[in-house]
Amino acid sequence: MMDYQHQLKIQAYLDGELSGPEAKEVSDWLTGQPDAAALMTELRQTGEALTGFEEGLKLPESREFFWSKVSRGIQIQENRARADAQAAPVGWLIRFRRFLMPAAGVAVISLLALVVTRETGGGPSNPAVETSLADGGGVVYHDFSAGATFVWLSYPPDSDSSEEDDAGSLDQ
């Protein structure tokens, strides 16, 4: 049984990859090894059979032109990477900016929301109004045009002192 190295040697011999002395050494060795000679014959026949089926691949352009395009592409990419590296700020600045962008956005939104809430009174001038009156005859009236809400009570707060002072039943 032939080992793997000898098989490789035979293949290299067939492909003409061995130097003169090595080729002669393999040639001599093959004469005394019928198994090796058989393998070489098989490999040669297989190679010849496959060669007949190979399709020639032809480039639409010359070899030199093709490789010059590849070279130019690599050069452009290298130049671009170098320019980006020079233009880019240092790493911590990039990280800081990544943090700042959402932070600034949140801050602006918060500021606007707070300003709107504080200055305009929270959107609609009269949002949900809850009223409860202990006085059954009480009425609540909203005059939106005047920005006034009236809570009118039939209950006089100080009726017992009203006889003394019409206006100032509440007056002290």
Binding site: L111, T149, F150, D158, D171, Q172
Partner: protein, 155 residues
């Protein structure tokens, strides 16, 4: 190249300033500030003058305009009280010997106002009270007059 570097630094600086400004503004606005209110005790009447011996002054034209939904021709200011309510808390104001207003700051510009008469709760109103608007508990008084407690937010 230099320009792009400069622009990049400028952009970062602009973001930083914007964040600092906005953050600062938000913190300032978030800070708990007292809310300032004013309550005016008003006498509503068709008479041209206040009662004899009383030097009540007519209310300012703006307030009179806001009271246009009411039927009376003249409104005289009996008393005015300025007060502040710490954010999120409650303040009780005596507007007369037997009448009190309880003003509570809710979120935003919302307030809860409770009117007490002789120590008993008479009315409770929860609504927005932004600057410029008024909340007016009131009622009829003898001789076709009325009393009003005009509550407004000053700041």
């Amino acid at each position: 190249m230099i320009t792009s570097r400069l622009l990049s630094k400028t952009t970062v600086l602009a973001w930083f300033l914007l964040a600092a400004f906005a953050g600062g503004g938000a913190v300032r606005l978030c800070a708990a500030e007292d809310l300032k209110f004013q309550v005016q005790l008003v006498w509503a009447t068709d008479d041209l003058k206040p009662p004899a011996g009383k030097d009540y002054k007519p209310v300012d034209p703006k307030l009179k305009s806001q009271l246009r939904a009411l039927k009376w021709k003249n409104y005289f200011e009996v008393k005015r009280i300025d007060f502040s309510v710490p954010a999120g808390s409650t303040k009780k104001i005596a507007i007369s010997e037997k009448c009190e207003l309880d003003v509570r700051d809710l979120t935003g510009s919302n307030v809860e106002v409770v009117l007490f008469g002789k120590g008993k709760e008479v009315a409770r109103v929860k609504q927005a009270l932004p600057k410029g608007e008024i909340l007016v508990p009131g009622g009829n008084a003898p001789n076709e007059t009325a009393w009003l407690a005009v509550l407004k937010r000053i700041e």
